[in-house]
């Protein structure tokens, strides 16, 4: 075999373990889900094999699903916005700190050492009726009976922000860290105040990181089901909870499959839009 032929094969050899895993653990199961979504669950509880559009019709026309989907996207959007507003200054601080950058990044990663479910449930001990905050407020005398702070939309968003903030901070940090600090100095020397230099130079150059962090937060937030399950009330179900409900509680795999593919399609479309937008951004750089 020639050297060229061997070199051409090498990437595929190196990729093969990962490709095998992705094929059998992701694409094949996804294909199953697609097939399931066209089956039909009969009144007896058995699945009727065939090509039925009933699940799709229900998922796409029932207003109940549409409203929860819109609510899910709204919660994901608010969470992303809060993460961006809270995460950007933190990322900026870490990127510009001298010497202890490694320690700050380690602290940022620290929450990942604890299970996401445990971290979510810890809010019950803080915000619950007999939680730390209520106990403190009662003790101080600000309130006379505990306030219900859990099991509403705000507590779901709080839990999601808690979960997703590090993803935002890391993405923004990476893009800020790659910006030459001389650029801000140059802008200052030309007469821009620190805030003007930030707006004109640092912020535009860090937008790709902010966009990447935003996409990650939005997609992970929109796909979550544990946070609304643990911290949400009866009316705070998000779309993934419907999938969970259909498959685990009702054992209706065909409907659950159709619903999960619907969410996948919406979030997939979002990723495509993001790609398109960033592709555009490269071209439009000069206009900003």
């Amino acid at each position: 075999m020639s050297v060229e032929a061997r070199e051409a094969r090498q990437p595929w050899i190196l990729l093969s373990p990962a490709l095998t895993a992705v094929t059998f653990l992701l694409f094949v199961p996804l294909l199953f889900i697609v097939v399931y979504s066209f089956w039909l669950r009969t009144a007896t509880g058995a699945d009727q094999i065939g090509f039925f559009l009933d699940n799709w019709q229900e998922a796409l026309t029932d207003r109940f699903y549409r409203d929860i989907l819109l609510n899910t996207l709204k919660i994901a959007a608010i969470t992303t916005l809060v993460c961006a507003l809270m995460g950007y200054p933190a990322a900026y601080f870490i990127a510009r700190s001298k010497g202890n950058k490694a320690i700050l990044l380690l602290l940022l990663m620290l929450p990942f050492w604890i299970s996401y479910i445990i971290r979510t449930m810890s809010w019950i001990n803080i915000l619950g009726v007999s939680g730390a905050l209520n106990t403190f407020l009662l003790w101080v005398g600000v309130i006379s009976e505990p306030i219900q702070m859990l099991y509403n939309e705000q507590s779901v968003i709080l839990g999601l922000v808690h979960f997703l903030l590090p993803f935002m901070v890391l993405n923004v940090f990476v893009s800020l860290d790659g910006i030459d600090t001389n650029l801000e100095d140059a802008a200052n020397s030309l007469g821009a105040t620190r805030w003007q230099a930030f707006k004109q130079v640092t912020l535009p150059l860090s937008l790709p990181g902010l966009a990447a962090g935003g996409l990650l937060c939005f997609v992970l937030g929109a796909g979550t089901y544990i946070t609304p399950l643990v911290l949400g009330g009866a009316t705070d179900a998000m779309f993934a909870n419907l999938v969970f409900e259909a498959i685990i509680t009702q054992l209706n795999w065909p409907l659950g499959s159709a619903l999960s593919l619907m969410l996948l399609a919406v979030l997939g479309a979002l990723v495509l839009i993001y790609n398109r937008y960033l592709g555009m951004a490269q071209l439009m750089k000069g206009l900003g």
Partner: protein, 358 residues
């Protein structure tokens, strides 16, 4: 009135002193170079003038006004960095126009000012391009245009040529000096390259380990180094321990090993105030190799043996041994260099030497 005055300034980072207390006056329109090896404090000085660092002690005056508490964006300085620091998301024209937006320049006049600046750096047609589409040398010209278009009171250049290829560096050196003379802006230039410093400067400030070793015109610093450090940093020198045996009004007599008694013009030994221990400074370019029996004229001639030959094309660097001392000589080549192992005579004219206190 001087354009920039550093009045007893010092800079410490914790217990480390980057710049020891020193003062400096920079004349209006002058091209002043801060020269020294890395870590000598030259960039710290520049950054203090720019307002990117606060001096620990002392005052900085620009145009006679104290600027210690004036933030960088109000100092009206042009700053050029080694890595160009052009804004990658803005076109060349937007980069050059950046500083004008923060000044009272009518919006209608900005394109003309930008074009004039691009003409000045001889890149009139790149305004619509992005920095990364230009070569390193072109980017540095744009960075220069961006810094001078605002008509700064002082132009600060932080090793602006160091990132360029050797050939380009020499072209840019000439170009930079041409532009500086044309607009007449007071310029502070930081470099570790002695040939840049000698070629471009009105005045050179040689620094070492946070201290100013010598301030003077290029010829002065080259011909009469004030210290052993300066003698070695600006070109190669042989420093030989000697004795000053006699001082008269026009010459200083040194008794040195190998060369014997040398009468050095007094202007080349300005710091040698008394008889006794001294150092003889022999520039490698002034130590000429000749055939063993060649006539020496007014030069002192001593026998030596060539040890190493470092061929450089138009010149050659020899390491020769005279007695038990190794000396360095850099000579232009007539035909062929002397081969290693050859017996030669070393010729040295006393008036080409300098002397330092011992």
């Amino acid at each position: 009135m001087s354009a920039v005055t550093l009045n007893n300034i010092a800079k410490r980072f914790g217990t480390f002193t980057a710049v020891h207390k020193s003062s400096l006056e920079i004349a209006e329109g002058a091209f002043v170079t801060l020269l020294g090896p890395s870590g000598c404090g030259k960039t710290t000085n520049l950054r203090m003038i720019a307002g990117l660092l606060d001096p620990t002690e002392g005052e900085i005056l620009i145009g006679g006004k104290r600027v210690n508490d004036v933030p960088i964006h109000k100092r009206n300085l042009g700053l050029v960095f080694q890595n160009y620091a052009l804004f990658p998301h803005k076109t060349v024209a937007e980069n050059v126009a950046f500083g004008l937006k923060y000044r009272d320049v009518p919006a209608g006049e900005i394109p003309k000012r930008v074009q004039d600046a691009l003409d000045l750096v001889q890149l009139p047609n790149v305004g619509e391009r992005y920095p990364k589409e230009l070569s390193g040398g072109q980017q540095q010209r744009i960075a220069l245009a961006r810094a001078i278009v605002i008509e700064p009171d002082v132009l600060l250049l932080d090793e602006p040529l160091s990132a360029l290829d050797a050939n380009l560096r020499e072209d840019m050196r000439v170009e930079l000096k041409r532009i500086q003379e044309r607009i007449g802006v007071t310029t502070v230039f930081v470099t570790h390259d002695q040939s840049e410093a000698l070629a471009m400067s009105d005045q050179i400030v040689v620094m070492s380990e946070g201290r100013v070793e010598q301030v003077g015109e290029p010829e002065e610093v080259y011909n009469t180094p004030a210290s052993e450090f300066v003698a070695n940093f600006l070109g190669a020198s042989n420093i030989i321990a000697a004795d000053c045996i006699e001082r008269s009004s026009d010459s200083v007599a040194l008794e040195a090993p190998i060369f014997g008694k040398l009468a050095i013009p007094v202007w080349k030994a300005p710091n040698l105030k008394s008889e006794g221990k001294a150092k003889l400074v022999v520039r490698a370019e002034k130590l000429l190799l000749a055939a063993p029996d060649a006539p020496a004229g007014d030069a002192v001639s001593v026998p030596a043996k060539v040890e190493t030959v470092d061929y450089q094309g138009q010149a050659v660097r020899y390491f020769v041994r005279a007695g038990d001392t190794q000396l360095q000589a850099i000579n232009m080549i007539d035909e062929h260099p002397y081969a290693a192992g050859s017996d030669v005579s070393l010729q040295l004219r006393p008036q080409d030497c300098a002397a330092l206190p011992g």
